[in-house]
Subunit: 159 residues, 2 copies
């Protein structure tokens, strides 16, 4: 489906573009690039959260919001559902994607692992932005143990 | 359709991000930003040109390639066809979109006209990149007379 491919290509080139400017890997450049990508993702996630069809006008329960991300948001972005959702019932959620599309184009050897964070930052921001639109403040991080699988950890911030 | 919305949101935020860094509008900053957006578009267009289904393995005629952009490429990006295609039969083509989706979110008053180029640069690059994949060197520029309509002018470079 060309639409999905279009988003993936644009994401790849955007990462390449935003990663390139800082010639000094020892400086804060990488952190800055990650933060720019996260910020972009946040704003896209906010906008997307407003546009996706929702059966209920509000999500009172955190778990409903997280299920919405795993099903509807993931389907809109990647034409599939998240593979797993676990929670400690204390505001921490782990979302598992066994084959994350934005990592699939990378090689799968361990030597690529350190390249992974730049392909996850946008989506971390996007999840956080979508949750923000749904009324939840959160911290979202991602980790990769074995490419192209990855986990997003969402910690809901209590006000 | 959320996929299309996703691309449009990402494009909007990317333009905002790449437009912002240069605080001095009098310098070459705007030209540089436009050129970065065009470059991004070019690479996405190249990749997209390789992935879109093509009935014939090669486009011998320029006009076939241009029709492909107006139908298949536009459908993949914007779920519609280009509204018009004219040519002088000497290598110059004018592609008309009466309601270009990446301009629709802008206001339509004449005061917005000068903002338009930054929303067109990526797509100019993309058309050029897709043509490159199809075997044609080109120069692509865009113009807006009345928002949200716009015209892309493609000049095929003879080798």
């Amino acid at each position: 489906m060309a639409d999905a491919v279009l988003f993936e290509f644009l994401h790849t080139e955007m990462v390449a573009e935003l990663w390139a400017p800082d010639p000094d890997p020892g400086s804060g450049g990488k952190r800055r690039s990650l933060s720019v990508l996260e910020g972009l993702g946040f704003r896209v996630g906010q906008a997307l959260g407003e546009r996706l069809p929702r059966e209920t006008p509000a999500f009172r329960e955190e778990l409903d919001a997280l299920k919405f991300l795993c099903r509807d948001l993931w389907a809109a972005m990647f034409q599939k559902h998240m593979d797993g959702l676990r929670t400690n019932h204390q505001g921490t959620y782990v979302l598992q994607d066994n084959s994350f599309p934005l990592l699939v184009t990378m090689g799968s050897g361990p030597q690529y692992l350190e390249e992974a964070p730049k392909f996850l930052a946008f989506t971390c921001g996007l999840l956080c932005g979508a949750l923000h639109t749904l009324g939840f403040q959160s911290l979202v991080t991602a980790s990769v143990a074995s490419l192209p699988a990855c986990k997003f950890q969402v910690v809901i911030q209590k006000s």
